[in-house]
């Protein structure tokens, strides 16, 4: 008897999680559908001058993607390299402190990363090419932010490699590098790829840090030293001062972010399908 109640309770919890997602999507669509229908392609073709009723988001979509892609290009190889290094090359005593460092990094609030970026990184870049607050600054800070989790995911994937394989490799006198290149990485590539794509989603969704270092000028990404504005920074920057259509436009950009995230996830799932899912 109690079993059935428990069963229902558990089912309810699961439904709640699904409902939250459904709720978010429904709410966003509900709020923005008439606006989107009315604006149509203007949302992409025009520029962003909300004061004049122009809500073209194309440049900001490009900005979000540019900053996230560069961050991933910087962070992913680094994460894989460091995870492999920690596991196979580093002296044993280093593992604990290194992992502690990454746990610390993962726990630092994004505002703090943003502040560091604004006060240290941006002036440094400014010394090379003004203004300093730029696409590059955003990607560098983001790369630092997604590195720890990307590394931990890779580490978890590496842990799944059957020890027998490693023994066999050693018996065959493979160098550790050789083993990595030809045995370990090919096997773990799907899991790593899927985890890394998830981090891309996180990079796409980051708000506070990019707000402080990207320059926030609405323009198509050109040189990495030029400022860009991401969709997330835009929402944070303008939401408190937005009314009517401007506010709805911001909600619409939130919806767009969710849709892109979902698409990315579908991709990540496909990549990871060969590997029996770990988190």
């Amino acid at each position: 008897m109690a079993d059935r109640w428990l069963h229902r309770l558990l089912w309810l919890s699961a439904m709640l999680a699904a409902l939250v997602l459904g709720g978010i999507v429904v709410l966003l669509i509900g709020r923005t559908a008439p606006f989107i229908a009315q604006q149509g392609m203007d949302l992409l073709a025009r520029q962003w001058y909300p004061g004049d009723g122009e809500f073209g988001m194309a440049a900001m979509i490009a900005g979000s993607l540019a900053v996230a892609v560069l961050a991933l290009v910087l962070a992913a190889p680094l994460a894989v390299a460091l995870a492999a290094w920690l596991r196979y090359f580093a002296p044993g005593w280093l593992r604990r402190p290194a992992l502690a460092l990454f746990a610390l990094m993962a726990g630092i609030p994004s505002v703090v990363y943003g502040l560091w970026g604004l006060l240290v990184l941006v002036p440094w870049i400014n010394g090379w090419v003004p203004p300093g607050a730029s696409w590059l600054a955003g990607s560098l800070v983001l790369a630092l932010m997604i590195l720890p989790l990307a590394l931990l995911v890779t580490d978890a994937a590496l842990a799944q490699v059957p020890p027998d394989w490693l023994h066999a490799g050693a018996a065959l006198a493979l160098s550790r590098v050789g083993m990595l290149r030809r045995v370990v990485l090919p096997h773990t590539a799907p899991a790593i790829a899927s985890g890394v794509v998830l981090q891309f989603g996180r990079a796409l969704g980051e708000t506070m840090a990019v707000l402080m270092v990207c320059g926030n000028v609405v323009q198509w990404p050109g040189s990495v030293f030029e400022p860009v504005r991401t969709l997330t920074a835009n929402i944070a920057l303008e939401m408190s001062y937005a009314a009517g259509d401007h506010r709805i436009a911001l909600f619409a950009s939130g919806l767009l972010l969710m849709l892109v995230t979902m698409a990315l996830l579908a991709l990540s799932w496909r990549l990871g399908r060969r590997h029996h899912g770990t988190a």
Binding site: P50, L118, P130, N216, G244
Partner: protein, 198 residues
């Protein structure tokens, strides 16, 4: 608290307001980095800078260095007032960086030697006094300071208001009177604003 024209419905649209009650005065100061020797600017020069017509500090008396123009993001009262005073259209402004809050602007200018931006006089004066690496520029000959704002000499002033929606209850009215009274004048001064009573 900054100048707006209406009160907020739940979709953000302003419906009806009981007229703004001015509680304090502030100004908008043009600021540059402390390394920058320029200490005064004219209305024409600001227009030229923000429209991209002038883009090198040489034209204003410093070295050969490109200007980093800092603007504010849309919807903010500081932006509206700035554009209004200098007769600019936001579409024609060529900015190298867009910031949100005053402090972000101050930090941005303090860390970029070739930058110019505009922020609240009160905030800038506070920070400059505390040692932050910025300088407030004289605008058309008048120093950008809280005392100039208070004396009415600084041309680019702005009012800080409280607004209410609907009918004002007795309690609300008492609060509004309190907010304009001598009892709180020192609070405004502490934040480098000028109390409305002068």
């Amino acid at each position: 608290m900054s100048q707006t024209e209406a009160a907020v419905r739940d979709d953000g649209i302003i419906a009806s307001v009981s007229g703004p009650v001015v509680v304090a005065r502030d100004g908008i100061a043009m600021i540059v980095n402390a390394d920058n020797p320029v200490d005064a600017i004219t209305r024409a020069e600001v227009r030229a800078l923000y429209r991209g017509e002038t883009d090198n500090w040489q034209a204003l008396g410093w070295t050969d260095r490109p200007v980093t123009v800092i603007n504010k993001s849309s919807g903010r009262a500081t932006l509206t007032r700035f554009l209004e005073y200098f007769g600019l259209d936001n579409r024609n402004v060529e900015a190298d960086m867009v910031i949100g809050e005053n402090q972000q602007g101050i930090q941005a200018v303090a860390s970029a030697p070739a930058a110019i931006g505009y922020v609240s006089v009160g905030a800038a004066e506070y920070e400059a006094d505390a040692g932050t690496a910025i300088r407030l520029l004289k605008l058309d000959g008048v120093a950008a300071s809280t005392s100039a704002v208070g004396a009415g000499r600084y041309p680019l002033g702005r009012d800080l208001n409280l607004i209410t929606t609907g009918e004002r209850s007795a309690m609300v009215q008492r609060f509004l009177d309190f907010a304009r009274s001598d009892a709180v004048a020192d609070l405004y001064r502490k934040h480098y604003f000028v109390p409305a009573r002068g």
